[in-house]
Amino acid sequence: MKKALSLFFVLLLVMSIIITGCSQPAKEEPKKEEPKQEEKASEQKIKVGFVYVGPIGDGGWTYAHNEGRKYLEEKLGVETIIKESVPESQEAEKVLNDMIDQGANVIFTTSFGFMDYTEKVAKANPDVKFLHCSGYKQLDNMSNYFGRIYEARYLSGIVAGLKTQTDVLGYVAAFEIPEVVRGINAFTLGVRSVNPDAVVKVVWTHTWYDPAKEKEAAKALLDDGADVIAQHQDTPGPQQAAEEKGVWSIGYNTDMKEMAPKAYMTAPIWNWGPYYVQQVKAVMDGTWKSTSVWEGMKDGIVELAPLTDVAPAEAKKAVEKVKADIISGKEKIFVGPIKDQTGAVKVQDGVVMTDEELLSVDWFVEGVEGKIK
């Protein structure tokens, strides 16, 4: 009897929690939603959200985007909100919805893996503008934007190719996606334009942000005979490995001189600020339209960081010349003949790879030692 009574009370408790906890939202839903929309309409205030894949302090990819955000705040005085270290999983979808709940009406998602989640949330929120970095999907309220970082990578390959003594270069890479493969190819073409015998060894880490793992991968490459380390990672971990070993490195994302003063030579870097200002300004003016942007060194969104004293003396001149050709459009980088790893000609003499081919590239050029799974 006593047990039955206590069971009854427990059920009562459960039911009361259900009623207070769960049925409330359903009942109040229509009521609460309306004033919120009015609020939005009356304010017309722009609030910009940034979804980052790593922490701001990564000293690389996310740091560069955050510099762009700060530039945006400074130039336009808009309010921005951020979320760091968001995994490229269902969590991203929740973070996007959270940001919309907190009033964001323009949202930048700054990693490839956020693409599908951005698309999904964009479809459900036609009034919010989304800008996804490094992907290829586009909706009326979702742009994609990226830069031709491969141009700067090609230049950094020239520096590395001139510096190496062992003719073995190491490349610490994150994922086997076109963006990374394209970078490795451009780097290798750059290396072999000045040093036709050199090879580029690739190690995959399967992470964007993991300083320790990236450093370990670089160490493995160094033990394998590499004397210049390049990277497609978000942290300066590989730079530090080169510094400790007393050899040289090419950074990525931001000027990484301070992280490895004796090893670092230069880096392909991002300059997001002007693009962010331009886009948010267009939203404020009501002229914003969904676009697919893939700009290069000509537009200033990608650059090669200044060469340090560690870089070989002849590199500066060589880089300046090719850089001018890239900007003028004379040097297109992915111009045939290009052979793949087996030695077969993949791009015929004189043919330039199209953007479409570049955006879906899934093979390595000759000179790369590594596998795309």
Binding site: I17, N97, D362
Partner: protein
Amino acid sequence: MLYKVVKRSEITQGKSFGIRTVAIILALLTSAIFIMILNLNPLEVYAALIKGAFGSNYRINQTIITAIPLVITSLGIAIAFKMKFWNIGGEGQIMMGAFAASFFALRYPDLPKPILLSLMMIAGMVAGGLWALIPAFFKAQWETNETIITLMMNYIAIKWVTYLQYGPWRDKGALGFPKIPNFSDNAILPNFLGIHIGWIFALILIIIVYIFMNRSKLGYEISVLGESENTARYAGINVKRTIIIALLISGGLCGLAGMIQASAVSNTLNVEVSGGVGFTAIITTWLASLSAPFILLASILFAALIQGGSFIQTAFGIPAAAAMILEGMILFFVLGSEFFIKYKLTKNGSAKPAVSKGEI
């Protein structure tokens, strides 16, 4: 000035409530210092934490969605814990449940929704149960340490899913990005009152587990076995059989949580599918003193802490790591207070250790 830790014989409800309250106040005060170091007003941050978890319908829904897997996994873990079988393998059991459910979701995407979802549910429970059965079998047969085995089996399960994600199950259409294809609509749990239907499962399961643990013969046997194996044996309970069945149920519930997360939340399988729920649920189970109804309460509170913590990150621009320290600090004090509920400090020589009932 010597102090001794003495086990409390019994503690009144009021006293244990008092200890917990003091713990929470201490946690808030200590965290307040930390928040002030970040140059923020602690009161504002705390208010935002609550607002972030319950401030709008959207946020309440998010809190509930976070609580659902916690509740179901905690129920599973509680059954094992009642037997003093320390199942630390919730994470792995969730993974394997999600894996088995995904197998059907990906292989038979066009089956009618009710059939496909039922298949996925059964598959999830069976896989989770079998994954828990392995350590249970070793424990029953050779008395191996279940804590280590269940813990290690988490990593096997996680690596297995990683392997699938990067290898055989990788989405060909994702241009090399390592993800498994999304489920078809038929493999996704429907919503009810704005939240996926998992919340109804969670509530039903609370009732079932409560009845099972308190009213059924097997539930009673599990409790007896947890108190003393010798007593259980003396009473004619088949120890091996009880361990195995209890762990099948425990792992099965975790596997169901995995199926729900994969189907309703991720819409696919990936390594993030459990998101640490298997470990967090250990805490909520413990806070709820293994009692089914209190698991609901503990899970909702915990989900609120997670949701609110995420909210203040964006609202105040606090780094992710700082928000986690805040959550960790609150947790530390609340869990720490459990020690003082079970034990007390006395001056040396002044107190006699209490004799607990089971010791004779």
